[in-house]
Every structure is written in structure tokens, then in C-alpha cells.
């Protein structure tokens, strides 16, 4: 139980995949046009993440170290194909509006990152909770983005009119620029809060500080290459 709570807190807040680790920006920006899309994408990613974490944790003693990344990708791709078919069968509307971003869950950095950073070192139950925590953290981040974009872009939440009738929806928030704008404002707000708490400035979001390797799976690949040579 303690482990469960600790993993949940870690995934939702301490190491939130989008707002803290800045992973999986592509699906987050693309599908956060409305709350419904955000929930659909978040939960399907969570399902893949939990399943792949469990399976990879089970197989962690059998997968040779040298080919672990391709093996993880195949495991993840298998689950994604399953989710793809399930969604096509049971939620056809959501399937159409998420479109190409469902198969693209395969290259979601969070999933590969968790496989590499957690599931291949920890037991099955711990990996399952970790996958659930991270997945829900990703869902939460998508919902926050979707909340602002749908509220200002369409004046609705979950399709229900919220804004008063004289409000003219700012269409831009639904389009591509709105996604970048919303995320930048949230990131700036988080930085502002951190600075106010008196943390040193090295702590703020700065992709440039870590350069090319800011993305966990990439970092891993680099180390691999150097190992191999």
C-alpha cells in the first residue's frame, strides 16, 4: 500500500511525465484539443504503459542487455496494436478523432523511458504501480492542457457550454498555436513558483541545459553506443 501511494505521488506530481520530465510532448500537444480527447489518449496510454511495464518486468531476466531497446519496442508495439483494435471496436468516435496518434503511442517516450528506467530493475507489482502512476500523471497533464484549450477555444468543457453566451471562442486555442501557447504558459507558471520558493535557477525548466540528451530514452541510447564501441 505504501509503495502504491509513493508511486502514485511520484507519477502524478514529483516526476510528472509532461510537466516535470518534458517527455511525450508530441501526443500531449496534438490531442489536448478537448477534454474528451485528452481523457481518451491519457487512458489508452496508461493501459499500454501498465501492460508493457508488467510484461517487461516479467521478462527482465530473459532479455539480453544488448538488444533490450528493440525488444521493449516490440512489446510496446504489440500492446498498442491491441489497444488500437479495441478502440476501433468499442469507441469509434474517439478512434476517428484521435486518428494517427493512437498507433503513435509506440514512440511515446514515456513508455520506453519507464521500461528502461524502472520496469527492467524492479518487480512486477512495483512496475505495475509505477506504470499506473506515470500513466495517470500523463492523463492529468493532458486534462490540464485540454481544460484551458477547450474552455477558451470552444467555450465548453466535455462538450457542455460553460462560458456565457456573449463569449466569442478564440479559435486559435484549438489550432496548433494554442497548444504551444498553453504549454508555454503552464511551464512559465511552474518556473515562477519554483523561483519564488527560492530554488536556484539551475532547477528551472531548461531543455538547453542538458542539450541533445534531455530525453531519457535518447540518453540511454547514447550510453549504449559508447558502451558498444
Amino acid at each position: 500500500m505504501k509503495l502504491f501511494l509513493e508511486r502514485m505521488k511520484n507519477g502524478l506530481f514529483t516526476e510528472n511525465p509532461l510537466f516535470v520530465q518534458v517527455l511525450a510532448t508530441c501526443p500531449a500537444l496534438a490531442v489536448s484539443t478537448s477534454m474528451i480527447n485528452a481523457i481518451g489518449m491519457g487512458l489508452s496510454s496508461t493501459a499500454v504503459l501498465v501492460c508493457s511495464n508488467i510484461l517487461i518486468s516479467m521478462l527482465r531476466k530473459f532479455i539480453p542487455d544488448k538488444i533490450r531497446i528493440p525488444s521493449y519496442i516490440v512489446v510496446i508495439a504489440g500492446f498498442v496494436s491491441a489497444i488500437d483494435m479495441i478502440m476501433e471496436a468499442f469507441t469509434p468516435d474517439l478512434y476517428v478523432s484521435l486518428g494517427i496518434y493512437i498507433p503513435l503511442i509506440v514512440v511515446n517516450c514515456v513508455i520506453l523511458g519507464r521500461a528502461e528506467a524502472y520496469a527492467n530493475k524492479n518487480g512486477i507489482v512495483a512496475s505495475m504501480w509505477d506504470g499506473l502512476g506515470m500513466g495517470l500523471g500523463f492523463t492529468l497533464a493532458l486534462l490540464v492542457l485540454g481544460f484551458f484549450r477547450e474552455l477558451f477555444g470552444a467555450g465548453t468543457l466535455f462538450g457542455i457550454q460553460i462560458m456565457p453566451s456573449f463569449y466569442v471562442p478564440a479559435n486559435m486555442m484549438i489550432l496548433a498555436p494554442g497548444a504551444f501557447l498553453t504549454l508555454s504558459m503552464i511551464m512559465a507558471f511552474l518556473n515562477y513558483r519554483k523561483l519564488k520558493q527560492g530554488n536556484s535557477s539551475t532547477d528551472i525548466h531548461d531543455v538547453t541545459a542538458v542539450g541533445v540528451g534531455f530525453d531519457n530514452p535518447y540518453n540511454v541510447k547514447y550510453q549504449n553506443r559508447e558502451d558498444a564501441e
Binding site: 510532448t25 488500437d84 498507433p103 528551472i204 541533445v212 530514452p217
Partner: protein, 192 residues
């Protein structure tokens, strides 16, 4: 669809980074310096052209005749990963100078969602082999354009401007991307 239309659509109107949100990770991460951005852009162009051809052939001659449509995600990601490895080994042997320039960007690309995304879009749009090649080269050049523009802006931004402390780093980069995406919306009028 007309070949020229496919090209313009892929490069400008539906820019792979700024309107389809593919490859954002590398777009934000490798756009600090112009040289690095150019290297990344070239590597993506190269891999995307080869990967979409490879995945098109696999789809048309292996998956579709056997009714294995549902395996396309798994098959494409394997084609891309294998291809990237192969290209890396080939360039290393054939042209050390090119390897020097592109080498470090190649492993980044196998997890770049733009490559898989375009391969899937080619199949979804039911393009011919030539059409999908044009589509992927167009998309890759769109990526190249976006990342080089971004790197040029960021080099200037770091040098001359006085950015509020909480906006430094990622937030200001995203604001820049907002403005770029807004200006790319202007291309929407090119195609009816």
C-alpha cells in the same frame, strides 16, 4: 492527387512539426545551435525518405496481400529501427565525413515520431510509391525548415534579449513555436 500539391501540403500547409505535432522532442531539444539543427534536419530527411519507401514496400507486398493489415504499426517500427541501424553502419564505412556530421543524430531518429507518423500517413492516404516518397521528402523538408528557423531565432534570442527569469529555457522556446505555428497557419490559404 497532384504530386506538387502533395509536396506543398506536406512541407508548408500541414507542416510536420508546427501543425501535426510530430517530432516535437527533437525540435525542442536539438534547436539550440544552428549547426546541430542543420545536421538533425539532414539526417531526418535522409531517414524519412528511406523509411517511407521501405515501409511502403513492406505494406504493399507483405502485409496487404496476406491480410495482415493490423500488424502495420509493429512492422513499420521494426523497419525504421533496422533501417536506422543499417544506415548508420553503412555511412560509417562508406563516408566517415558524413558520419561525423550525421552520426550522432541517427540514433535519435529511431524514436522520432515524425518518421513513423509519415510512414503511417502514407498508407492511410493510399499514395503510390512515388507519391509517398514525395510526401515524406516534403514533410522532412518541412521539419528541416522549422528546426533551422527555430535554431536561428534561438541563437539571436539568447544573445540579445532580456527574457524574464521564469520564461527562460523551455517556456520562451514554446512561445517562439507559438508564433511560428501562427505564421504557418497563413499557408493554409495555399490549398483549397
Amino acid at each position: 492527387m497532384n504530386i506538387l500539391l502533395i509536396f506543398i501540403n506536406a512541407m508548408l500547409v500541414n507542416n510536420v512539426v508546427l501543425s501535426r505535432f510530430l517530432g516535437i522532442c527533437s525540435f525542442l531539444g536539438v534547436s539550440k545551435k544552428k549547426d546541430a539543427a542543420i545536421g538533425m534536419g539532414l539526417a531526418v530527411t535522409f531517414v524519412m525518405a528511406m523509411a517511407s519507401t521501405g515501409s511502403w514496400l513492406v505494406y504493399k507486398f507483405l502485409l496487404e496481400p496476406n491480410g495482415l493489415d493490423y500488424l502495420k504499426t509493429v512492422a513499420f517500427i521494426l523497419v525504421i529501427a533496422a533501417l536506422v541501424q543499417f544506415v548508420e553502419m553503412f555511412i560509417k564505412k562508406a563516408s566517415p565525413t558524413l558520419y561525423e556530421a550525421l552520426g550522432i543524430y541517427l540514433p535519435l531518429i529511431s524514436t522520432n515520431c515524425a518518421v513513423l507518423g509519415i510512414a503511417l500517413l502514407n498508407v492511410q492516404m493510399e499514395l503510390s510509391l512515388f507519391g509517398s516518397l514525395v510526401n515524406s521528402v516534403g514533410a522532412a523538408l518541412g521539419y528541416f525548415l522549422a528546426i533551422v528557423l527555430m535554431a536561428s531565432i534561438r541563437e539571436k534570442l539568447d544573445r540579445v534579449s532580456n527574457i524574464p527569469k521564469s520564461f527562460q529555457g523551455l517556456p520562451i522556446t514554446l512561445v517562439t513555436a507559438t508564433l511560428m505555428a501562427m505564421s504557418f497557419l497563413g499557408f493554409q490559404g495555399l490549398l483549397k
